[in-house]
Each structure stands twice: as C-alpha cells, then as structure tokens.
C-alpha cells in the first residue's frame, strides 16, 4: 500500500515538473516526487536512507521556491503534448515495471522508470536553467533509489550523495553564454 502510494506520488511529482513552467509548480513537483521516491525506497533502503532522499528533495524544492520563473504556470497554453507525455510515459513505465519485469519491488521499478523518463525528457526539452536543474535534482534521487534493486543491503552512501546533488544543484552558479 505504502509502496503503491509512493510510486504514484513519484510519477505525479515528475509529471508536475514536466507540466510546470513556474518556480512554484516546479517546487511542488520536487516536493511530491521526492516524497514519493522516499516512500517507495523505504522497503529496500531503510528509514535513514529514505529520509535522506526526502530531505534532499525538500531542500531542492525549498530553494526552487525562491528562484526561477515566476508563478505556478502549471499547464500553460500549448502544453497538451507534455500532458500526453506524462500519461503515456506513466503507462509505459507501469507496463515495463510491473508486467514485463517480475519479482518484488514493482512500485520502486515503476517509480524509477517513470521519474527518469519524465525528468530526462524535461531536461532534454527545456532551455530554461532552473527547470533543467529541477529535473536533475529528481533524476539524481531516482538514480539513488535504483540502488535498492541491486543490493541486498544497500550502503547509505549513494543515497547521501544523490541527496547532496539534489540539494546543492539549485545553487550552481550558471553563466549566460557569451555572445559570438
């Protein structure tokens, strides 16, 4: 039940990041996705590691609340293709994670595939630095969550590292490209 709810939240948060152009929408997406990834990682990573992931997302989302394009801008005009991407991406991730693959932790598999797919697509399609950095922060959390699928008792280091990337990436000073 908890794993299912976490997987849904992870997808919903990543979808919000895809659908938002404003800093509030991006921050909300980060909070929701990080909460989902933390919940879904709980069974494989343990309480401490999932808390660390959640904390990384919390700091990243809080930072995004203070910088970035103004407002919520969730589903601005012309975002139908992004909505289709979120729904279709979610369905494909669900099919691959639950039907094509077998074994325990189906929720974790779905969450990792959905978040990497949607956050990756957002980063590839956007030219806006705060948006790309938001996508990077949730992608880092998903990369760490995937560790739980490989190891019987995963080390906490990847989770801490990913949380640190998520928390600090929003502070990276980016420069405007020099004119030719």
């Amino acid at each position: 039940m908890v794993e299912g709810a976490g997987a849904f939240l992870a997808w919903a948060g990543a979808a919000l990041i895809v659908l938002s152009d404003g800093h509030r929408g991006l921050a909300l997406g980060t909070f929701v996705a990080a909460a989902g990834i933390a919940l879904v990682s709980f069974s494989t990573a343990g309480a401490l590691a999932s808390t660390v992931l959640g904390l990384g997302g919390l700091i990243s989302g809080a930072r995004r609340l203070t910088t970035g394009p103004p407002g919520w801008a969730i589903m601005p005009p012309g975002s139908t293709p992004r909505l289709v991407l979120c729904v279709a991406g979610g369905l494909v991730a669900l099919w691959v994670g639950v039907a094509v693959m077998s074994g325990d932790d189906g929720g974790l598999r779905f969450a990792v595939i959905a978040v990497i797919g949607l956050a990756g697509a957002r980063a590839l399609a956007s030219e806006d630095t705060p948006t790309v950095l938001t996508a990077v922060s949730v992608l880092a959390l998903a990369v760490a969550a995937a560790v739980g699928l490989g190891a019987e008792s995963p080390n906490i280091v990847p989770y801490v590292f990913a949380a640190a990337i998520a928390a600090t990436s929003s502070w990276i000073p980016t420069r405007k490209p020099r004119a030719a």
Partner: protein, 347 residues
C-alpha cells in the same frame, strides 16, 4: 579498482601537463590548470568509487560542474547529453538487475551501450559544437579527458551486470555503434567545413575504434581499446590543443612535421594507433573474420582527414615544438612496444 581505468586516469594527468605545455596565453593556462585538476579529480573519483551507481552519480556531478563553466553554449545544452547518458545507464543497470523475460536483458544491453555513447557524446548523440569555445568547456573534454576512464569503468561494470547472452548483445551493440562512429567520424573529419569541427569528428572516429575494441570481447579487443584510448588522450588531445592557434589563424603548412603529425593521427606505423589497429584486426579475425574486413576498410578513411588535420597544425615553435615532440615520442614508444602499457592494465 579497474587497472585499465586507473591507467587512463594517469594518461589524463600526463595529458594535462602536455596541455599546459602547448596551451597559448598565460591566462588560459591558469584556467586550464584549475579546470583540468577538477576534471581529473572527478575522473579519478569515477574510477575509485566501489559501485556502478556511485560512479553514475559522480558523473552527474561532473556534468553539472562542466555545464556551469563559461562558454558559448547554454547550460541546458551542455548538460543535455551527459544527463541523457546517466539516465540511460541507470535504466540499463536497472533492467540488468531485475528478473524478467529475455527481452529485458536485451533492453539492458542496448540501454548501457546507448548510455555510454550519449555520455561521451558519440553518434547517434553528438553535442552541439562551437569552434570558438575553449577546449575545457567544449565537448572535447568529454571525448578525450573524462570519457576514456569513464568508458573503461562503464564497460567493465556493465559486463559484470549482464548475463552471458546480454553481454554478447552489449558487445554487438558496441561494435555496431563503433562502426557507425568510425565511418561517420572519419568522413565528416575529411569533408566538414571548419577545421576545428574536423578535429572534433576525428575524436569521434577514434572512439569508433575504441568501441569496436570494447565490443570484441576477447583479450585483443580490450588491448586495442586501451591503446586507442591512449592515442586519444596522449596523442590526439594534445595535438588538437597545439593546433588551436594555427587553426584560428587559418595557417596551413606542409612541412615534414605536418606529415609526421598526420601519420600519428592516421594510425600509421610506428605510432600507437598502428599497434591498436593491428590488435583490433587480430581480435576481429578471431571473433568473426568478415568484421575484420569491414574494420580494415573503415581504417582507410582516416588518411584524408589526418592529412587535413596535420596541415592545420602550422609549424610549432618553442614550447609548442617541445610539446608536439613529446607527444610524438610517447606515441612512437607505445607503438613500438605497447607491452608495459598492457601489462600495467593486466591485459
């Protein structure tokens, strides 16, 4: 730690020294030193961390730092391909770790091969390129400085993750992507309009050979890949940096030194590229002889592009000449006697 990856980090350290020797203005040298040391530390961390997932997170950190450097391309554009690479590699590793039908293993193999190509910036994913961008913030940093050691780690870890069948599919994917890069890179380096872009494509062509070496899962293939990566890091990269001033000034010369440089870039005897090609052809012959025919035909495409790049070097003088001479001497030494290099990597 993988000995071949450790060796490639050592090559990168030597390449940094050579780069400082051939870099032009003093201000550029200071910036190059700082960026080079940070990049080297990051690459060493990729090699030193104990798990594949941690290596991916370190690569993501390097990608963020590299994208934040001053340059002509936007942050988003510079981050795009390394991010895609990390995403694909994570998905590939996930597919390799979970149980499922045979197709899941195939997806894992393709995901890992595609992730490697995207991370380094090879076809079918290549970075946008600006000829005037400093080398340290351009895609060449991934192609020739961070990429070789990262690729050695990724290939070794991927082969540990995959089953025997999926490992064969991974090898076949690498050979396929390698041949594509060989042909496209060498033809583009020959025919593209600007000389700086030609240099970039020549790195891609060399990577094609390295991927074929990694894909031929025999000892000779691995040996060939290591020597090709040596010739990228300690051959093509410093020569590219040494040529930048002459390329900017559109200087074209046809002196003996230009012919020597062209020979080194083309992989002629007695340079390192030649022994890499011999090892690669030997490995391909053992695996599947028609592959050796395709590779041998592809290798001929290096010649026109290398003559073009050799002429773009100008006539090196002073510190430049010393740097170019050191690069050529190193490449001759490894070309004539690659055994110590291979023994250090336990190959």
């Amino acid at each position: 730690m993988r000995p071949e990856a450790v060796e490639l980090v050592a090559f990168a350290a030597v390449a940094l020294v050579l780069a400082l020797l051939v870099a032009q203005p003093a201000a550029s040298r200071r910036s190059l030193l700082f960026r080079g040391v940070v990049g080297l530390a990051g690459t060493a961390a990729v090699v030193a961390v104990p798990t594949f997932d941690l290596a991916l997170l370190v690569l993501l950190t390097i990608a963020l730092l590299h994208a934040a450097l001053e340059g002509k391309r936007t942050f988003a554009v510079r981050l795009r391909l390394p991010l895609l690479g990390v995403g694909l590699l994570t998905l590939g590793a996930l597919f390799a770790r979970v149980s499922g039908s045979e197709v899941v293993d195939r997806f894992a193999a393709v995901g890992l091969a595609a992730g490697l190509a995207a991370l380094v910036g090879l076809l079918p994913y290549i970075h946008t390129f600006d000829s005037d961008e400093p080398a340290s913030s351009s895609p060449v940093a991934w192609l020739a400085y961070i990429g070789p050691a990262a690729a050695a780690v990724i290939v070794a870890d991927a082969q540990g993750l995959l089953t025997a069948d999926a490992g064969a599919a991974f090898g076949a994917s690498l050979v396929g992507v390698g041949i594509l890069n060989m042909v496209w890179g060498s033809v583009a380096a020959w025919l593209t309009e600007t000389t700086t872009a030609a240099w970039r494509y020549s790195f891609i062509a060399d990577w094609g050979l390295a991927l074929c070496g990694f894909g031929i899962t025999l000892a000779d293939g691995k040996r060939a890949a290591l020597v090709v990566l040596f010739s990228i890091v300690l051959g093509r990269l410093p020569l590219y940096l040494a040529s930048r001033e002459a390329v900017r000034g559109k200087v074209v010369t046809e002196r003996p030194i230009n012919l020597l440089v062209a020979a080194a870039l083309a992989g002629s005897a007695p340079f390192a590229g030649f022994s890499a090609r011999v090892l690669l052809l030997r490995g391909a012959t053992q695996l599947y002889w028609p592959l050796a025919l395709v590779l041998a035909a592809g290798m001929l495409l290096w010649l026109p592009a290398s003559l073009r790049l050799g002429r773009s070097m100008g006539v090196p003088r002073g510190r430049h000449a010393l740097g170019v001479a050191a690069v050529l001497a190193l490449n001759v030494a490894v070309g004539l006697y690659p055994l110590p290099l291979l023994a250090a990597a336990m190959l």
